[in-house]
Each structure stands twice: as C-alpha cells, then as structure tokens.
C-alpha cells in the first residue's frame, strides 16, 4: 500500500485527551529528503502530531510508518532504533538544566553513539557556531541563556548527530528577524545539502515559504490542505487563505468575546 519513497506516512491518526478530540484522522505523507511545514492555529494539535510520530504519545487509532515500518505499538528496543535516526527540537527547547550547554548539544553523541567526550565537545562547539552561538556560551548552564538562545541550543542538539529525519517545533519563534533567517538557511541546508527529511511546525509564514517544499494545514484535527509554496498563495481554500494572511474575518472563528 505504501509507496517506497515516503519516509514518514501518517494514516487516520486519532488522539484525544479526556473529552477533547485533538487529532481526528490525520493523513500525511512526507517523502525522503523532503521538507514539509505544518501550519495551523494555536492548540490545533501540531505538537501532538509530532509527539505521536516520535512515540512520546500513543495515538488512539491509526498508523504511523517511518521508513515503511509501523511505529504504533512498537517495542521499546525497536523504537530506540528508529529514534536513533531522528532529531527533535522541542517547542520549549527542553534543555537538560543539570548539564552545561555543550553537553546538551553533545548528548546524543555521548549517550547515544558512545563517542568520547572531547570529540563530542568539538562537534558541539561547531554545531553551536552554526546556530550563531559563540564559544562564550559553551560552558554556561542552560538556565543562564535567553529564550532565543535556548531555542538555538535546542536546534543545535537536534542536528548534532546528523539525523536522517528532523522535527522542528517552531524553530524561529522568539528569534530576531536576522537570526530567524540564519536558522531558516540552516534548515534548508540540512535538507538540501545533507539530504535529511524535515518536518517543521511554524507560525512564521516567511519562514514557511523559505524552508518548505510543501505546506500542510491542520484544522480541527485534520489536514485540510496540502500543497506547494506557490500553490498556497493562490489557493481557493478559504481556511488557508484566511490563515496565511492572518485575517480576522473568514470561516475560522476564534472563540473571543467582544469587548
């Protein structure tokens, strides 16, 4: 059923929390070496979708295949093998605050790949430079960093092992426009030059246009639209048009009370 080129394939994925149905039949395919961006309103289930793919949350129903291999209900050992190919930037960075910045970045190399600490440190310093962080932050504790710096350390950690598949949860939020551009370039480089497959969540349409091969929009727990960057500008889909232009009037109604 699955064509061989799709790296990640979600079919009919459902997930609820208590009475709240968050994912209501997500279907999405991502090809090898492709960069897909997910857009959608706040609280629409974007982060939950990523966590389902990573196996941090278990979907109630549906199938998620990575490299053709079903990951729903997979054993812990098999999942570790899948995750060894994956890098993830969490929305809140999720840095380990008991260890210094460089060790955070080198974590996957030291703990996962059992690399010697000095060699791992060199790679960490290099990755930190790629996200615009100099040698002065290397030995700091994550608690001593600003929000945007933490985000970039998280990004460096996600790409440190040169993973095959990378997930970015809002990589450019909280960054200044110039640094945002640096990060966009870095993501493009990971995909175009290193050949990784990337799935990025963002609210930043400029960033989405820059890094995406395809854009998917999530609404009410479903993917309601998928298309290329050029298609999204002239789509007739009212939901997508309203969303990307940030209009208050349209089919998407915010639950706001009039002042």
């Amino acid at each position: 059923m699955m064509d061989v080129t799709s790296k990640i394939a979600l079919t009919d994925v459902h997930k609820h929390f208590g009475p709240k149905q968050v994912l209501n039949g997500i279907d999405l395919e991502i090809g090898a070496g492709e960069s897909v961006v997910i857009i959608g309103g706040s609280g629409s289930g974007k982060s939950v979708t990523l966590k389902c793919i990573l196996g941090l949350l278990t979907p109630d129903r549906g199938s998620i295949r990575v490299d053709g291999q079903e990951t729903v209900g997979m054993s812990v050992g098999d999942r570790e093998a899948v995750l060894s190919k994956v890098g993830m930037l969490f929305q809140g960075a999720a840095l380990f605050d008991s260890i210094p910045v460089w060790e955070n970045v080198a974590f996957g190399l030291i703990a996962g790949q059992r690399m010697a600490r000095p060699a791992a440190r060199d790679i960490a310093v290099e990755k930190l430079a790629q996200v615009g962080l100099g040698s002065e932050v290397v030995d700091l504790s994550p608690a001593e960093l600003s929000g945007g710096m933490r985000k970039r350390v998280g990004l460096a950690r996600a790409i440190a092992t040169n993973p095959d598949i990378i997930f970015f949860d809002e990589p450019t939020t909280g960054l200044d426009p110039i640094m945002g551009e640096v990060i966009n370039d870095l993501i493009v480089e990971c995909v175009k030059e290193v050949g990784a497959t990337a799935l990025t969540i963002t609210h930043d349409m400029d960033s989405a246009r820059k890094i995406a091969d395809r854009i998917a929009m999530i609404y009410k727990g479903k993917i309601i639209w998928v298309g290329s960057v050029s298609e999204i500008e002239e789509t007739a889909n009212e939901y997508v048009a309203q969303f990307i232009h940030g209009r208050v009037d349209g089919p998407i109604q915010m639950d706001l009370r009039a002042l």
Binding site: G55, L56, M88, F90, G92, L95
Partner: protein
Amino acid sequence: MQFNILALIGRVFLAFFGATGRLSIFTASGVRHSFSPPWYFRHILRQMLSIGYYSLPVIGLTAFFTGAVLALQIYIGSSRFNAESAVALIVVIGITRELGPVIGGLMVAGRVSAAMAAEIGTMRVTEQIDALVTLSTNPQKYLVAPRLIAGTTMLPLLVLVADIIGVFGGYAVSTEKLGFNPGLYLKRTIDFVQTEDVVSGLVKAAVFGFLIALMGCYHGFNSRGGAQGVGRATTNAVVSASILILVANYIVTTIFFGA
C-alpha cells in the same frame, strides 16, 4: 444509593490496584536497568555524593541527639529498678537495631526523596524526559537506575556512621552528666553489642535507601501539570517513602528476629 457506594468502593479499589500495578512495573524496570549495562558511572557517583556525603551533617546531628536522649531516658527508667548498668546495653542495641536506621532513613527520606521528585518532576513537565527519549537514551536507565544504586549502597554507610555517632551521644551523656565511668561504659557497649544487631540495621538501611530513591523517582516520573504537579509529587514522595520505611522496618525486623 447502594449502587453508588458499590461503585465508589469499586473505583477506590481499581485506583489502588492500578497504582500498585504501575508501581510494580516501574520498580521491576528500575531494578532491571540497575543490573544491566550501560551504567552511567558519572551519574551514579554524583548521586552517591548527593545522597551519601551531603546527608552526613543531618545524619550526624540526629544520631548524636538521639543517642544522648536515649541514654537519659533509659537512665531515668532503669534507676527505678536499680538497673543503671543496662544503659550502655540498651543504647547500643536501640541505636544499631532501630533508631539508627529508622531515624536516619526518615531524615534522608525528607532530604533525598523530595529532591529527587522535584528534579525528575521538573524534567517531566519541561519535556526533558521526552527529550531524553528522542536522544536514544532510556530515561529509566539514565535517571532511575543511578538513583536506586546510589540509594541502596549509600544508606548502609550513612547508618554505620549514625550508629557510631549515636552510641557516642549516649556515651557523652552517660559519662559527662550521669557520672558513668568512661572505660566501663565503653567496655559494656563493646561486650554487649553483637554482629547481628549491626548487620540487621545495615540491611534495613539498604532497604530504606532503595525505597527512598524509588519513591523519589516514581513520583517525579509521574508528575503532571506544571509547578503545582511537581509540588504534589515532592510531598507524595516524602510521605510515601516515610510510610514505606516504617512498614518495611516492621517486616525486616520480623524476618531477622522472628515474630
């Protein structure tokens, strides 16, 4: 009405068995990871330091005053039967068999369970534990196993120190305040104490150390819902560790000295 009561009882029992089951699985996997490679020696050492070394002041002070007050009370009680010579005996047995391990265990429970639950709980709510998983590191192995190993090995050492200081506390009061002959008091102590007294206390200490670490990890791991959840986990860890220590104390005592 009757139905409601039955439903309530049923719910309570289901919740109880559910929790017991979860705790059993958690314990089994923690123990399994403690005995299988890879071992994170750096973390084991760090935990040993924080449990063992940094608990010394607390343990030393409580043991000294416990021994001192024990000598005082026993003297007052035994003088009614003209049996003052029993002071040395009762102090050394009381300290090595019961008060050293139990009071030491309770003090360390307050210090260490709380710290563990707070640290791991914060890691849970800030997605650091999820991040560990995505970095191909088993959180049980990385967080739980080092703490279980350190708790189980450090508590006996701490209690050994507590035994010595506690007996010294009794000695100090007996010789300085109650007018005992120092040489005679020490000779009585050494003549009376048996290996079994000390060993049973150390076995208790190992059990308590395991329980302290287990409760800290378990409640931290299962904390939910931000700072409030972490606070709740911390309280639950200390309370449950303390109760389990008292229950386990009874069980181990029965095993050693018969019913």
